[in-house]
């Protein structure tokens, strides 16, 4: 009797539902051990600082993507939006600096411009998905191609931020021990989004629409508005990621966001958010982001070739989805 009771507890603890709650924790723990064993410089202060500041843009982008994936949708244009925002910031920072002479005003304006662009890009996917009922992965695949070219059209080659404007982006390098200001910003944003998810009409609507769109509609929820808003938020987050990257690199790079789409989706999925929607939360995303960051940074430290790194991330995302997918669902649709 006692025995069966125990084994049922064990079974429950390792049931699929719970696996993802611990898998990121375990993964982070194991990865840190492995990378440290392979190269002890992994845990030195300089690398930790580097790792944590690298994490910030990814975390901001993953925060927005979490809402989109909770809706059972996906946005593949995230990385391209990030690139466009990145080149916009750098280009207009110089232009505005010349024009107004005040680098802080110029920074504010160019950041705002990039964020507005992100909102606009998100709005387009939102409208295509909600109003025209296009599957979001196709709509965003098309837009990805559009934004990639737009980024290259704005500045074909990387241009650096002029030295006299560096003051406007120095906030990126403020550190408290190994923890950088950007990471604190990103964590605060996730905290804010967590409250958004659990304590607002929008957050509850996202969970409801992702869980059962038809039921949410019949219950009188505003399904279209919820979808559009989630995509807009995601667009803004992607643009914010682009701003962070500009500040970090002190230059623009029209292809800087390309690799992020995969990383962002991997982070959200590793964080336990179901691709089928309606299940998951922002706190999980934090863990997912760290898992991805550690893998990326660790591979750099132990000297894994960049091309091989993408193979690893591809496999990581497939593995994470294989573990989390609810195979009892009748259809496999990303809306």
């Amino acid at each position: 009797m006692l025995n069966t009771f125990n084994s049922s507890i064990v079974k429950k603890a390792v049931s699929k539902k719970n696996v993802m709650n611990y898998i990121s924790f375990m993964a982070i723990f194991i990865l840190v051990l492995v990378f440290t064993a392979m190269d002890s410089s992994f845990v030195n202060k300089a690398n930790l600082k580097n790792l944590l500041s690298d994490t910030a843009p990814l975390m901001i982008m993953a925060a927005g993507m979490t809402f989109v994936i909770l809706l059972a949708s996906i946005d593949l244009s995230t990385g391209a939006i990030c690139s466009v925002a990145n080149v916009l910031v750098v280009k207009f920072l110089s232009i505005f600096s010349e024009k107004f002479g005040n680098i802080y005003l110029a920074a504010l304006l160019s950041f705002a411009l990039a964020l507005v662009f992100g909102a606009f890009a998100g709005l387009i996917i939102g409208l295509l998905s909600a109003k025209l009922k296009m599957p979001s992965f196709i709509a965003s695949l098309g837009l990805m191609s559009v934004w990639k070219s737009v980024a290259l059209l704005i500045t074909a080659a990387p241009i650096s931020i002029p030295k006299k404007s560096w003051g406007a982006i120095s906030w990126f390098n403020i550190n408290f021990g190994v923890i950088g200001f950007p990471l604190i910003l990103a964590v605060l944003l996730i905290g804010f989004f967590f409250i958004l998810q659990s304590r607002t009409v929008f957050g509850k609507s996202v969970m409801a629409v992702g869980g059962n769109e038809r039921a949410a509609r019949m219950a009188g929820m505003n399904v279209n508005m919820t979808k559009i808003l989630a995509f807009v938020l995601n667009g803004v987050c992607a643009a914010a990621g682009g701003i962070f990257l500009a500040a970090k690199l002190k230059s623009s790079a029209p292809t800087v966001g390309d690799s992020f789409t995969l990383l962002v989706v991997a982070a959200v999925v590793l964080g336990g958010t179901a691709l089928s929607g309606g299940k998951g939360n922002l706190l999980g995303t934090i863990l997912g982001v760290f898992t991805v960051s550690i893998i990326r940074n660790g591979m750099n430290i132990v000297g894994v070739d960049v091309f091989w790194q993408n193979i690893v991330f591809g496999l990581v995302i497939l593995g994470a989805i294989a573990i989390t997918t609810d195979r009892s669902a009748r259809s496999l649709v990303i809306k």
Binding site: R199, V201, R214, A216, M218, G220, M221, N222, V223
Partner: protein, 508 residues
Amino acid sequence: MEKKLLFKASNITKVFAGTRALKGVDLEVYEGEVVGLIGENGAGKSTLLKIIIGVQPQSGGEMTMFEKPYEPRTPRDANSAGIGMVFQEQSLIVNLTVGQNVFFGHEKDFRQFGFVNWGKMYKATEAALANVSCSHIPARKKVLDLNFATRQMVEIAKVVNLTRSSGHEHCLILLDEPTSVLNETEVQQLFVEIRKLTAQGHSIVFVSHRLDEILSISDRVYVYKDGENAGNMPTTEATEERLYEMMVGHSTTTEYYKLDQQRKPEPDVVLDARELGLKGVFKNVSFELHKGEILGIVGVVGSGKEDICSVICGDEHPSFGELYVKGEKRRYFSPAQALRDGVLMIPKERMEEGIISGLSINDNIALSNIRLLRSGPFLSTKRMVKQTQDWIKRLRIKTIGKDELLASLSGGNQQKVVFARALCSQSDILILNHPTRGVDVGAKEEIYGLIREMVKQGKSVILLGDTLDECISMSNRVIVMCDGLVTGVFDAPVENKPSQVSVVSLMM
């Protein structure tokens, strides 16, 4: 001359998740006869057919075919035992030819050097069609170009061919509402073909909602009611009236539907539909809904009653007519708009449209009134939890707590959550689409009490009942629909409820 017994099912039972869909029904089919099978929606006809064809196993009871035990596990088993079925929704693939459809899934029988020998297949198709006396159907024509009756015959030819290839001389064909997609002449055409089949010694089980068809085509009629035998007789002894009576049985107790609590509605009109119509589905539907009234709408599946509800609750736009809600002319583009006027529907398919099974009771109850729970920009968790706990207590929802996921509740308790959601949404015009569907008897009674309570508080209800009895007993007024038109309106005061027989006769 005594005919030979072909198929026999005795005392078949079927239990779905605690509810008994079949409580022990019998069916006997002799060679060369057409057996009609009738009953209300939910009487168990389709369930029995699915058991016979091997789509789902019975929970109890036995079947024999050619007087040998018959236990199909898949439709293929059924086919090789000599039983085939034509499903209600046609299953032909319309952009393939007749021949490709007849031998769909059996193409490898015509394989030659790794390719399909089409000529051989079409020759075999012609033989199969000739078998059911349909050699006039061209085997190479696309199904798309055939009318519905001809398609139906192709389906029958396909099924007969499958069962014949099992090596049995005679076979049993199950037809589930084969006439629902056919017009009058096509129906006659189908009947002629059915007669040709039975002349060859094959047998047919014919399920239909239309009693006149049953009377004209079948040799014997079985009547089921609520998953039980209501009787069977040779068609020569049957009349429409007698069959109606057997189908609906005797009315249930007053207590069950809380008839003593039925109240007279107030004179104020809260909802006024004028000549409402949805293209190709229903038209010219006009009615007034009064404050505190329960208005029942009855009709068979496809009569348009469900679509009226979709239009009123904002899920679909009406093509014609006008809708006035509380005196204002309204045209809704989404249920969210209707909700703002206090119009809300409790949908029929609980799992697909009613609940969000991956979310908690707490979240589900708050779906419709989430905006009212705001204090400032954020939701008041305290008020939300209090609301949930109140409703769990008031409706006696059996749960371990407010955070339990809907997926782990029983059907009755899930439905109570849906009701709680609707009741706290502050809507006063509620459309209840099969509110007691898939709910056990005890929970049903509670739901009836709840509906009575709702109208007592001045809410108005449009009710689509799970059974006719339920709809008549609960309602103040009953609208009868048939083929998209209103065919009758009955007042249903407590002391003078219309008889089910008189209502059914307008439904068909």
